[in-house]
């Protein structure tokens, strides 16, 4: 494995010999710039993946931890057996209050407490709702600390029916303290006095939720739908039993329970909730983050690959020299791969650690845009390392493979020719393959009718574009950059450097192309979706007034139906349609329904019915969206077997099929059908149609006046509601943009990286420039321009490619909804500008360094 030392061919055998691994190591140390460049490229890529995993583990851990704390002391839970949804934050229907006494009578039960959980929106002293991103909980304060996850931090437990304990987070937000008078909307307003402030275990609140704890008497009166019903019974067994003990006790308790009620071991109940959160929100969250980590990794892989090929060009001569001295191809290849392995391992470990920092940053970022994530500290699981390290190492090795193969193919004579490191040849094969792939991809994308074909086409088109890019750079780069060359020496020199090796230029821009294309697809998609929803909501609503406590964020809020009824009586209101949210099992699958005043629904809402009617649905009819009808195979006259949360069953006949689902969702039933079975009597929304001659402004003011007594739910005119209902989409779009911006940062980092490698490689030229009178500023300018050119090239290509893909994707993925494509021209312009500006910034550091170079040593360098 040993090869002769490269320096000096001494005849003495005592001269130190160098092994290949040591040569690789020495190479790395000798080229600090190179190693730094490669390390940075890999670290950037792996850090994002690691950050995404750490963040979702952290959130999962803390959510699970909270849930476990919540249920820690409860050995058995007795609750309604009917399950229509496993969405976290939703409650099952009620059970008879008498159940508690039945359970108390069971031997082995140390204590059983009735639990009444319901809706309880806190309204501060000034009449403002205390908002938050989680359920607004009202409950009964349980005296047994084993059964109550809340701990009093201040004051005392509630005694009278109008006394409450509130969570410390809400207390802090609204500056509440014991003795303050507040209102709790349950949803009917309850004037209450704060007697205590509680923490959830050690934390201020359970996630983003709020808590109002009444006395049992108070909860019966205000929170329970009927005083004779409770939500569940929490049971503490004698002697702190293990799981098996809990199970046995649950079985015993089950025997005394009325039908429709179940006894569940506490540990199972907790696990059920943990799973629900893990499968629901956390799964979405994790998938979402991992998808972006994936995008970031792809972008980084291109960046790493390009960096390696730049570096390989730099060492072509060195490889040739080794070959001339008798090193075999395999040895060259092995040396290059050994180098890559060292870099891959080091950088992946660093990236894994950097990910922790990134996770902390992302968390802060989410909270900055209004998405508070629970949890303190960071969770670094072994599995994260087990994913990140191999991925980082493999991506690095694969990226290094092609350049390594190329380096090993260098003919030994190349060492003797002092050829320029950067070659400008573009193999015709490459171009032909590129054109073929691009055309094939474009055709597939244009004709695609399902996501799979679309994805295949998109990949082919992307690969094709990347392959033809050098030819395009050569063909159009000269023309496009020509106008700038007149601006001064900087842009002129940069132009020459961009055009000197179209392949390298294209390579440097690749990560940018991919990054910007993804952002563009997303931007067009989001804009189309938003536009479509906006248009639909606008057409659905008449020019009336809408009451909505929450248009986005947490769904479980609303106002008292009483307010809806009162507004109906206003002279300016022709029709008031209150809408409640709920969940049922429809033909066996869990669906979200809206229950509303459908008697004269069409006076207030234009659902664009394709068949039948959505009016007067009564207790036995349902209307469904065309989307739901298509998916479930329903048509007017079909039967939907419904199971309500309280266990009641009903057969509903489809009365109508409608197009517009942005306001009423996919399943619509009447309030009268829902009321007997609902969990909380809460109008999420009320749509008010104006009487002839009435003015929206006037009516809005009148409704607002009425609403003051109901905690001031928000009242909108049509335009206002449309805007507000898009706020959630906007927030989501923001988060996605921020995440994608990170991918763009990686791309820019790649540009900066290769630029500084290029500057290092060209130090001779830069020295010459300085020697014949280029000022430092001019050298700086030329490199900054170069990176701006590259970024602009990447950004423009990315926008074009992404725009084309999005155009097709919107059509394919929106399916039956038929959303028209809308191009956010302004946003895309900003995107390209940001890319170019980013390029300029990315060039700043390498440019500054190059400009600082010592002229004499650069001129003297060989």
């Amino acid at each position: 494995m040993n090869i002769p030392a490269t320096q000096g061919t001494s005849a003495h055998n005592t001269v130190a010999r160098i092994s290949l691994p040591r040569l690789a190591l020495r190479n790395l140390l000798a080229y600090k710039r190179r190693i730094a460049g490669l390390l940075i490229a890999v670290i950037l890529g792996t850090a994002f993946l690691s950050g995404a995993l750490i963040l979702s583990d952290t959130v999962q851990d803390s959510v699970s931890g909270l849930i476990r704390d919540n249920g820690a002391g409860t050995d058995v839970v007795v609750r309604n057996a009917t399950d229509v949804t496993d969405q976290p934050g939703t409650n099952r229907a009620a059970i008879p209050a008498g159940t508690t006494d039945l359970v108390r009578g069971v031997p082995g039960v140390a204590n059983a407490e009735p639990v009444i959980i319901g809706y309880g929106q806190l309204v501060d002293k000034d009449g403002k709702m205390i908002a938050g991103n989680g359920p607004r909980i009202a409950s009964n304060w349980i005296g047994d600390p084993a059964l109550n996850p809340y701990r009093l931090a201040e004051g005392r437990a509630p005694q009278g029916p109008e006394e409450v304990v509130v969570d410390r987070a809400s207390a802090r937000t609204a500056h509440l303290k014991p003795g303050d008078h507040i209102t709790v909307l349950t949803p009917a307003p309850v004037a209450a006095t704060i007697v205590g402030v509680a923490t959830f275990g050690d934390v201020d609140a359970f996630g983003g939720s709020s808590y109002a704890g009444f006395s049992l008497e108070g909860a019966r009166a205000h929170v329970a739908r009927t005083p004779g019903e409770i939500t569940s019974v929490s049971v503490r067994l004698a002697g702190d039993p293990d799981k098996a003990g809990q199970r046995a006790a649950a079985a015993t308790i089950q025997k005394v329970l009325p039908p429709g009620t179940q006894a569940l071991p506490g540990s199972d109940a907790t696990q059920e909730q943990v799973d629900a959160v893990a499968d629901g929100f956390l799964k979405v969250f994790r998938t979402f983050l991992t998808a972006f980590a994936g995008i970031a990794l792809v972008v980084a892989a291109f960046s790493i690959n390009h960096t390696f090929s730049v570096v390989s060009a730099q060492r072509t001569r060195e490889a040739a020299l080794l070959r001339a001295l008798g090193a075999s191809r395999r040895q060259i290849r092995t040396q290059a791969l050994a180098e890559a392995l060292i870099i891959g391992v080091t950088a992946s470990v660093l990236g894994l650690l950097a990910g922790a920092g990134l996770a902390a940053g992302l968390k802060a970022l989410f909270s900055a845009v209004g998405m508070e994530l629970p949890g303190t500290g960071l969770t670094l699981r072994g599995v994260t390392a087990a994913i990140v390290l191999p991925v980082g190492i493999v991506v690095t090795l694969v990226s290094a493979l092609i350049p390594a193969l190329k380096a090993s193919k260098v003919p030994p004579v190349a060492a003797l020719r002092s050829s320029a490191a950067e070659t400008s040849g573009i193999p015709a094969r490459r171009t032909i393959a590129g054109v073929a792939l691009t055309v094939a991809g474009a055709v597939l994308v244009a004709l695609a009718d399902n996501a799979l074909v679309l994805a295949a086409g998109a990949l082919a088109a992307l690969a094709g574009v990347l392959l033809v890019a050098p030819v395009v750079v050569r063909a159009v780069g000269r023309v496009l950059t020509a106008p700038f060359a007149k601006l001064g020496a900087g842009p002129m020199l940069a132009r020459g450097n961009v055009l000197r090796s179209p392949r390298r230029t294209a390579g440097a821009a690749t990560a940018m192309v991919v990054g910007i294309a993804v952002v563009t697809v997303f931007a067009v998609f989001a804009a189309s979706l938003k536009h479509g929803t906006e248009h639909e909501t606008n057409s659905t609503l008449t020019d009336g007034v809408v009451i909505a406590s929450s248009t986005g964020g947490y769904a479980g809020t609303g106002h008292s139906p009483e307010l809806t009824r009162k507004t109906a009586a206003l002279p300016g209101v022709a029709e008031a349609v209150g809408l409640q949210r709920g969940n049922i099992l429809a033909n066996g699958s869990s669906v979200a329904v809206m229950a509303g005043d459908t008697a004269h629904l069409d006076r207030a809402l234009d659902l664009d019915l394709t068949h039948g009617t959505a009016n007067a649905l009564g207790t036995d009819k349902i209307a469904v969206s065309r989307k739901a009808a298509d998916e479930d195979g329903l048509k007017v006259g079909s039967t939907v077997h419904a199971l309500y949360p309280d266990g009641a069953k009903a057969d509903l006949t489809v009365a109508g099929v409608y197009e517009r689902n942005s306001v009423v969702g996919d399943y619509l039933i009447d309030r009268t059908a829902w009321a007997p079975h609902s969990v909380a009597d809460l109008d999420a929304l009320a749509v008010l149609a104006l009487a002839p001659g009435a003015k929206a402004d006037t009516v809005k003011a009148e409704v607002e006046a009425l609403a003051t007594a109901y905690g001031n739910p928000k009242v909108y005119d049509r335009a206002g509601y449309v805007d507000a209902s898009l706020a959630l989409v906007d927030m989501f779009v923001m988060v996605v943009y921020v995440l994608l911006a990170l991918a763009l940062l990686i791309a820019l980092g790649g540009i900066a990286n290769t630029l500084s490698l290029a500057a290092h490689e060209r130090r001779r030229e830069i020295g010459l420039l300085r020697a014949i009178g280029a000022e430092r500023g001019q050298v700086r300018a030329s490199l900054r321009w170069e990176s701006a050119y590259v970024a602009a090239l990447g950004a423009l290509t990315g926008v074009l490619l992404g725009g084309f893909l999005a155009w097709s994707a919107v059509g394919v993925l929106s399916g039956a909804e038929d959303i028209p494509v809308s191009v956010p021209a302004g946003q895309l312009a900003i995107l390209v500008a940001a890319g170019v500006l980013g390029g300029l910034l990315a060039g700043t550091r390498p440019a500054a360094r190059a400009a600082k170079m010592d002229v004499l040593s650069a001129v003297a360098a060989d």
């Binding site: 320029a420 001064g488 010459l768």
Partner: protein
């Protein structure tokens, strides 16, 4: 017609330099390193380079020739003494001012790697002017380009030119701004004798017909014979000078350096 002035007359030479010399060095010292490891690349060098003359600088490897040229060009700074370009004391200039001086008042030709590979020959010639955002005198540029014989090669890139052609482009660039001083460090070192002769003829022409002042470092006695005066350096000091050199005379003088004891170190 004294081309160079050894130390005894240095003071007067410096005093008069404003009138007779395009550039001169006065007790110039350039030391590298400190203490024990100090190397004096230039050790008290006082030289004048008269207007419109072609001076060759010779000496063994490591004798300080390149250092002298770099100091004259404002690429390197002295650790003692002065370099004057016309009336300008280079030691008083900032980095930025030195850069401008190189751009506007000096033309430099290196041994190799004189051209930016991304620019055409023509663009390389006009590069200093582009950097200065200055207009070139078109007549002068035409004359220079005509003189170097590159009129039909202006659109070519350096990689498409032979070594000799590349050096001629470099000479054209050095002359294009009509600098006060043209400096060339072994400009023919990498060329075969025919190409070398072309480049040397060109420098000679620049002096004779264009009135330029040229200082050239060389190892080659034949190259030195193109100059009006040859200055010999040894160990960072001026060892000798020769007016109207012939290759044979230069060669003989060079040989003297190689004989111990006869090296013309100033006594």
């Amino acid at each position: 017609m004294s081309g160079t002035s050894p130390s005894p007359t240095a003071r007067s030479a410096a005093a008069e330099s404003g009138g007779r010399y395009a550039a001169c060095t006065v007790h110039a010292v350039r030391a590298y390193g400190r203490g024990d490891t100090e190397v004096r690349a230039l050790d008290d060098v006082t030289l004048g380079f008269p207007f419109g003359r072609f001076t060759a600088v010779m000496g063994p490897s490591g004798s300080g020739k390149s250092t002298l040229l770099h100091c004259l060009a404002g690429l390197d700074t002295l650790t003692g003494g002065q370099v004057l370009l016309g009336d300008t004391d280079l030691g008083t200039l900032s980095d930025k001012e030195l850069t401008r001086l190189r751009r506007d008042r000096i033309g430099f030709v290196f041994q190799a790697f004189n051209l930016l590979p991304t620019l055409t020959a023509g663009e390389n010639v006009t590069l200093p002017a582009s950097l200065a955002k200055a207009r070139l005198d078109p007549e002068w540029v035409d004359r220079v380009i005509g003189a170097v014989g590159l009129a039909n090669r202006l659109g070519h890139r350096p990689s498409e030119l032979s070594g000799g052609q590349q050096q001629r482009v470099a000479v054209a660039r050095a002359l294009a701004t009509r600098p006060e001083l043209v400096l060339a460090d072994e400009p023919t070192g990498n060329l075969d004798s025919r190409s070398g002769a072309e480049v040397l003829g060109l420098l000679r022409d620049a002096v004779d017909t264009l009135g330029q002042t040229v200082v050239m470092v060389t190892h080659d006695p034949v190259a030195a014979s193109y100059a009006d005066t040859v200055v010999f350096l040894a160990d960072g000091r001026t060892a000798d000078r020769m007016d109207g050199p012939t290759p044979q005379a230069v060669l003989d003088r060079m040989k003297a350096f190689e004989l111990p004891g006869k090296a013309g170190v100033r006594s």
